[in-house]
């Protein structure tokens, strides 16, 4: 899959990119803030968008909303990656996107987790 990873923490970028490409064999594109994420998401076609909850310029939720409003053509499914866990936050994520993965996540199971979510959403 072609995946867009929007995440401002470089450590997590490194880890996630490594797992997704080496274990899942996916093609990973990175954005380090909400502005870049929105720009790339609108400009390119991805099979999946992973959005960090808190990023500079726009937080994940806002990127998601704007993407859904402005995207021309088929929309990629969106999974949020966030440290937030309150029921209000989770229901916000769920109502907007396909799924939600809580941080800290286990890198070993990241790929299967993503597969499960996508399968359930389909």
């Amino acid at each position: 899959m072609k995946i867009l990873l929007a995440e401002d923490d470089p450590n997590i970028v490194m880890i996630a990119k490594m797992v997704l490409s080496k274990v899942g064999g996916h093609d990973v594109d990175v954005a380090v803030d909400g502005g870049e994420a929105l720009h790339k998401a609108l400009a390119n076609a991805y099979d999946l968008i992973l959005l960090d909850g808190m990023m500079p310029v726009h937080p994940g939720v806002e990127v998601c909303k704007r993407y859904q409003e402005q995207k021309q053509g088929p929309q990629a499914p969106i999974i949020f990656l966030s440290a937030k866990s309150s029921p209000e936050d989770i229901s916000t994520f769920m109502s907007l996107g396909a799924g939600y993965i809580q941080k800290p996540f286990d890198p070993k199971s990241l790929c299967s987790c993503i597969d499960d979510i996508l399968r359930q959403a389909a």
Partner: protein, 452 residues
């Protein structure tokens, strides 16, 4: 004059004073009437005495008597008449004596008439004073009564009922125009007190919000670096970044397990803080207990199998629902089952059972065949960060917060939680929920979305 005390004191003094004054005047008038009457009677007896005197028999005794009579007379006319009479008696002039006696009599009669007139006047005055003795104090008492009722008793009544509003947490009323007296002071104090309570409540709410925010931010901040730590360790242990020797793998495993433990601890602390701050916002909905317990025990099946422990569920005949936050009750049941599995021996059985206790309450129990819990520990285990050793006497890898959270969740549902256990005979953890009912078929259709 501003205070009620001064006004009331003055009024009371005025009542007493006026009653005293007019009472005294009445008394004096009564005495005067008696005096007038005695004068009248005396005058009558004088006339009698004089008419008895026979001037032919001249007598020292009679002369003395005449002189005594004269000395008693105060009015100059009467004294003159008496003097003339004595003079005639001394002169031995019979005809003159009788003339003077007639004159004396005439004057006495006129005097008597005067006393009668004075008597009437005095009687009228007495009536007047008696009337005032009743009227003036009565009127003043009426004013006093007015002040006490309107100025004291009514405001006190208002104050008392407004204060009762405090009992139902209403602190909004203020006295808008407190008067400048003792009642006013009370009202002003009431206003200040109510404001103080409101301010305290606001402060507490703000404190509560600050605490929740802090916990939320703190847990987020703690989770962020843990993400990278867990991530790197995961990559290491999965050999994605290359092979390690066995010792290195063991080290990484330790780090991974402790990291997971930290993550659970943060989650538990966040839960506990939310519960304690009462910002948990439990949902209260009717949900099927059977579905909940089935789902939970199925979810724990993997953990049970790994520990070689059997799970069994005992259900009542009727299908029951409870008014609860299903997710949170699931959390409690999961915690209790998890503990039961941890503390069970191999091939042990963990039994989950639920049944109505009475009209109000329903009870859920999780029993295990573990070591049992001593009496001292029974209370301790529900405290934060307390753990016991497991069935193999290993220190259990938990956070020590599970039962504390379960306790808080059950109590938020207004239920009770506890344990029945004897050393060597296993334990039965139980908790109660406050409202239950039998699931009926129409509700079945309505609840079909809820159940799963």
């Amino acid at each position: 004059m501003k205070t009620l005390k001064a006004k009331i004191n003055i009024l009371v003094l005025a009542v007493i004073g006026s009653a005293g004054f007019f009472g005294f005047m009445s008394y004096e008038m009564d005495r005067k009437i008696s005096y007038i009457q005695s004068l009248a009677v005396e005058s009558l007896s004088l006339r009698d005495a004089i008419s008895d005197i026979k001037p032919e028999k001249k007598n020292q005794e009679v002369l003395q008597r005449l002189k005594a009579i004269k000395s008693r007379l105060k009015e100059p006319e009467r004294r003159r008449a008496a003097s003339d009479l004595i003079q005639a008696y001394n002169a031995n002039n019979r005809r003159l004596f009788y003339t003077r006696a007639r004159q004396f009599d005439k004057i006495e009669r006129s005097f008597f008439k005067k006393t009668q007139i004075a008597f009437q006047i005095a009687r009228k005055r007495l009536k007047f004073y008696l009337f005032m003795t009743a009227l003036i104090p009565g009127f003043l008492l009426f004013i006093l009564f007015y002040y006490v009722n309107v100025g004291i008793l009514s405001p006190l009544q208002t104050l008392s009922s407004r204060m009762m509003e405090f009992l139902i947490d209403q602190y909004t009323f203020r006295f808008s125009t407190p008067p400048n007296n003792e009642i006013g002071n009370l009202e002003r104090t009431f206003n200040s007190l109510a404001q103080k309570v409101l301010n305290n409540m606001d402060e507490l709410k703000a404190l509560d919000r600050a605490k929740s925010e802090f916990v939320s931010i703190a847990s987020h901040e703690l989770r962020t670096p843990l993400t990278s730590i867990k991530g790197s360790l995961g990559l290491l242990s999965s050999n994605i970044v290359g092979e390690m020797n066995q010792e290195a793998k063991d080290m990484v495993l330790v780090a991974e397990q402790e990291t997971d433990r930290l993550v659970r601890l943060i989650n538990d602390m966040l839960d506990l803080a939310k519960i304690e701050a009462r910002s948990l916002n439990l949902k209260r909905e009717w949900s099927s207990l059977r579905d909940l317990i089935k789902k939970t025990s199925q979810g724990m099946q993997g953990f049970a199998s790994a520990a070689k422990v059997h799970l069994q569920v005992v259900e009542p005949i009727q299908e029951l629902e409870a008014l609860m936050d299903a997710d949170r009750v699931q959390q409690v049941i999961t915690n209790l089952i998890s503990n039961a599995i941890k503390y069970s021996p191999e091939e042990g059985i963990v039994t989950i059972e639920y049944m109505p206790l009475d009209e109000q309450r329903i009870g859920i129990t999780i029993s295990d065949q573990g070591k049992g819990i001593s009496d001292e520990n029974k209370a301790l285990i529900f405290q934060k960060f307390r753990q016991a050793t497991d069935s193999n006497n290993h220190l259990v890898k938990g956070t020590g917060l599970g039962l504390a959270i379960s306790k808080a969740l059950v109590e938020e549902h207004e239920g009770e939680i506890g344990v029945r256990s004897k050393l060597g005979e296993g334990s039965t953890f139980y908790f109660t929920l406050k409202q239950w009912r039998v699931r009926s078929t129409e509700k079945d259709q309505r609840n079909s979305g809820e159940a799963a």
